[in-house]
Amino acid sequence: MDRSRRIPSALAVAAAAALVLAGCSSGSGGKKAEEGADGASAGKATTPRMTVALVTHQAPGDTFWDIVRKGAEAAAAKDNIKLVYSADPNAGNQANLVQNAIDQKVDGIAVTLAKPDALKDVLGKAEQAGIPVVGLNSGLSDWKRLGLLQFFGQDENVAGEALGKRLNEEGAKKAVCVIQEQGNIGLTQRCDGVKKTFEGTTEILNVNGTDMPSVKSTITAKLKQDGAIDHVVTLGAPFALTAVQSVSEAGSKAKVATFDLNKDLTGAIQRGDIEFAVDQQPYLQGYLAVDGLWLYKNNGNYSGGGEQPVLTGPAFVDRSNVERVAGYAAKGTR
């Protein structure tokens, strides 16, 4: 009884599965069309195994931080380092994560200083414990004050200024700078930098970065409200791609430029949908921070001599060099 009932249903399930796998397969795109490969690899060090903690202010699921982490992992693999990654956008929680790393008695800490003062106390404790600390990504103006060994990152103001100059070359008159996270210092500094060097007018637009449809309609609304806008500047790759849709929906002739890269963005540059991206090379930030700690431990080196930061950006990616970058971006390392 039971068996006779089960057999048809089992057959149905099997048939459905077969249909799914055979009949419904896609003839274009998809995993089959993608070639898999890993990031850069440069052999492996024979130095004693050490542990490094990388503590960032990443919000969950952000493509940018994923690239930083990949760079750090590549350096860790090369240097015979065990990498402990943790992140929390809340400054207090990030401080606790640094404390956690100190408790684990790691051999080095790499940390982002999005909210430097919140980390001041805990960084003092790391110093007392004799753990070397390097900074990356954000905190360019604070790393020395907080006693860090070295710093790898982009001066957000300098990057903004570079973008502003580029807008002048493009003959832009009016730009809107789209901030996806209201109150984030680094993002504000970028727009400030643009404003400083750009000879036309710059306006700020705040959007809700966790809700793409809302990002899209808000940019569309802005373009309709002000027909004079000829450039939309976004501060992250996914928002640039959305801005392209907004421009076409608003019937505007505005061009899109952005900070930061990802693999879909390189395609958009190749197609000419996006003019250029200012890349701060997040992979390099993660890689150099971990490698810098290794060099310090094994050879006593200070990148930047312990006096100057090591700048990883701004590097421009546009139609002239996108071919070279696209392959790396597809692997998620640029």
Binding site: C24, T210, D211, P213, Q245
Partner: protein
């Protein structure tokens, strides 16, 4: 008690203070007052007020295309606000609704891409997953008797973690791959994320779906037995059960309907942006709940309508985009949003009180 609420779910007044007769107090009240007492009328007036305000403050809003943008923004909130409102009338709410949208989109994108399948396969599996998440919420709630706050907070956290971890595990990145070149994409985009021309204005198809779903929800709520069940379980669960309302079925099915909404909005996001970032969606659940509450649904259940949340979502879209159309200082953006919404809710409250007072 429960039965009177069920029998007339669209009652224009809360239960009368007492069954006294012929002393003048229960005489038929003027039509205007009866209308005002309906849950959606307060928000309707609030929405009109906000609309007129921005028409005056923001000249560029007066073009047809601008209105299409506002409606699009409203529709992506509104499609989810509808099932969230039904659930709220049924006495529960769902904190996992925001990330559930992204779970659905991630499922469809990764399944299609990784196995190189027609995207419709991903769309259908995502539907199953979304309905299952809803059923899980409902089942946990009914089985454990825990408040929906706790159960759905748990699901919210689980989904947030799973979204990120599984995406990273499967794709090696925290965003899904672009599926726009795959088979079936264009059809799916036509259904979930296309737009059409009305007198030279591009209107998004989500606006149509939103209104269709709203009409359907209104019909279910006011004209079907199931609609009566929703009011009954939200009003008083025990007395509803006593008069034979299948409380367990009603509650679980309401969560499943929220799952359906999450699937639909998730598919819209996937097919309009081609990829999904796994960290999105957090915080949206509060916006859906806010739209439902502004739309006249009580947080305590048993009262509300399906058309109210439509105006609630419209108001949200109107305020959010209106601030941009008006060209105001963007630093104040969220503060403006909060003030306008509080103002709208107060108008809503005032209208209700005036209408029910004699």
């Amino acid at each position: 008690m429960g039965t009177t609420q069920q029998a007339a779910p669209a009652v224009t007044t809360p239960p009368a203070p007492g069954p006294r007769h012929t002393d003048g107090r229960t005489r038929e009240r003027p039509l205007v007052l009866r209308l005002l007492a309906r849950p959606e009328v307060g928000v309707f007036l609030g929405a009109v007020a906000v609309f007129v305000f921005f028409l005056i403050a923001a000249p560029s809003l007066r073009q047809g295309g601008s209105m299409a943008t506002v409606l699009y923004q409203a529709s992506t909130i509104g499609i989810m606000a509808l099932p969230v409102a039904l659930l709220m009338i049924g006495g529960e709410f769902d904190l996992s609704a925001g990330v559930a949208v992204i779970t659905s989109a991630l499922t469809a994108a990764m399944l299609s891409y990784q196995l190189t399948l027609n995207v419709w396969t991903g769309v259908i599996v995502a539907l199953v997953v979304s309905l299952a998440v809803g059923a899980f919420n409902g089942w946990m709630l009914v089985k454990t008797g825990l408040p929906s706050f706790l159960v759905t907070l748990g699901t919210f956290l689980i989904l947030q973690g799973v979204n990120l971890a599984v995406t990273k595990l499967v794709t090696g990145n925290v965003a899904t791959d672009d599926i726009s070149t795959m088979d079936g994409f264009d059809q799916a985009r036509a259904l979930f994320a296309s737009s059409f021309d009305v007198g030279g204005v591009q209107v998004k198809i989500t606006v149509v779906w939103w209104l269709v779903f709203a009409a359907l929800a209104t019909w279910v709520l006011l004209r079907t037995k199931y609609g009566n069940w929703i009011f009954a379980v939200g009003g008083n669960k025990e007395s509803a059960r006593a008069v034979g309302v299948p409380v367990t079925f009603t509650k679980i099915s309401l969560f499943v309907v929220v799952g359906f909404g999450a699937w639909f909005v998730g598919m819209h996001q996937l097919f309009s942006f081609n990829t999904v970032q796994s960290g999105e969606g957090v915080g949206q659940e509060l916006i859906y709940i806010a739209a439902a509450v502004i739309g006249g649904c009580l947080l305590t259940g048993g009262h509300g309508s399906a058309i109210g949340p439509v105006f609630g979502a419209f108001m949200f879209g109107m305020v959010q985009q209106g601030i941009v159309y008006a060209g105001w200082n963007p630093d104040w953006f969220k503060a403006f949003l909060g003030v306008m919404l509080l103002g709208a809710v107060l108008i809503n409250l005032w209208v209700q009180r005036t209408a029910t007072r004699r």
